[in-house]
Amino acid sequence: GYFSETQVKPSPKETKRQLCLSLSLSISVSSLHSLSLYPMDAHVAQLQMQYRNYILSLYQQGFLDDQFTELKSLQDDGTPDFVAEVLSLFFDDCVKLVGNMARALDQTGTVDFSQVGANVHQLKGSSSSVGAKRVKGLCINFKELCEAKNYEGCVRCLQQVDIEYKTLKAKLQDMFNLEKQIVQAGGIVPQVDIN
């Protein structure tokens, strides 16, 4: 039993009082659970962990490289939108240059591969400047195809470049949305060490 033979047993009144106390305590705890009160700090920590994992996955999957890390390091309290502004310029460049390449490859008659190549060179430079690793890699292949005057290869590569920059844009938008959620939840966007 709960009590030893030698202990003094509580009176029935005391037992009833203790039972009521423990019952009211368990009701209070269950009320808290039913209200789903979730500490604010835990929510921010969860978002920050989600953010860290997302950033790491972008590097691991080859979407970004060290140059993106450099861009992030240049952002400060005085220019909190620096990375967003740079990326906006980059994606504007992508639209313009992919359009130029598509028009150059759409010529009936002789295709001016040097013109295509010049646009590829520019996109390679831009993608390198912002750390868009996959886009840069595609541009390197694309340049070789232009030099070889491989029309079908160029058309295929252009399609891949188009898909790749749009994919990156969507993923970076998700990244910025996560940053916004963290700030709105009262947290700080964490620095992510990718090494």
């Binding site: 140059q67 450099e70 861009l71 390091s73 240049l74 220019t79 620096f82 502004e85 740079v86 310029l89 980059f90 460049d93 060179h121 520019q122 390679k124 430079g125 831009s126 390198s128 400047s129 912002v130 750390g131 340049k143």
Partner: protein, 131 residues
């Protein structure tokens, strides 16, 4: 008459004055930010011809000129040669693409560069040159 203390003199550090010559707006923004991050101030020129005009008209003096190689109107090689003919004494650092071959890089250096760096530029690439 009050004299400046050593502490005051130390505080009056001349900021690194940089001219960034590049036709790519994206590169101009990034390179300006890099220069600011290392404690410098910068002015930009969209091509080599603008860089020459800045030196001809303003009598400007820069500690460092970051010179892109491929630019319309006047490219980096021609601009560097011209600035050296104008007796510009600034450190001129060429910024090249990885696609440039050894011969192209050599021709750029021989135009009058002090150093050559490959894109993309980072703080870590520039700091050793100015130190």
């Amino acid at each position: 008459m009050a004299t400046k203390s050593m502490g005051d003199i130390e505080k009056i550090k001349k900021k690194l004055n940089v001219l960034i010559v590049d036709d790519d707006p994206l590169n101009l923004i990034i390179h300006e930010k890099i220069i600011k991050a290392i404690g410098g101030i910068s002015q930009t020129a969209n091509n080599g011809e603008e860089a020459v005009i800045i030196h001809r008209d303003g009598g400007s003096s820069f500690d460092l000129i970051l010179m892109d190689k491929e630019m319309p109107e006047r490219d980096g090689v021609s601009t560097t040669k011209k600035l050296r003919e104008m007796e510009v004494k600034s450190m001129i650092v060429g910024v090249t693409s990885l696609a440039d071959n050894e011969e192209e890089r050599r021709a750029f250096m021989e135009a009058g560069l002090n150093h050559c760096l490959a894109k993309p530029l980072t703080k870590d690439k520039i700091i050793p040159l100015i130190n």
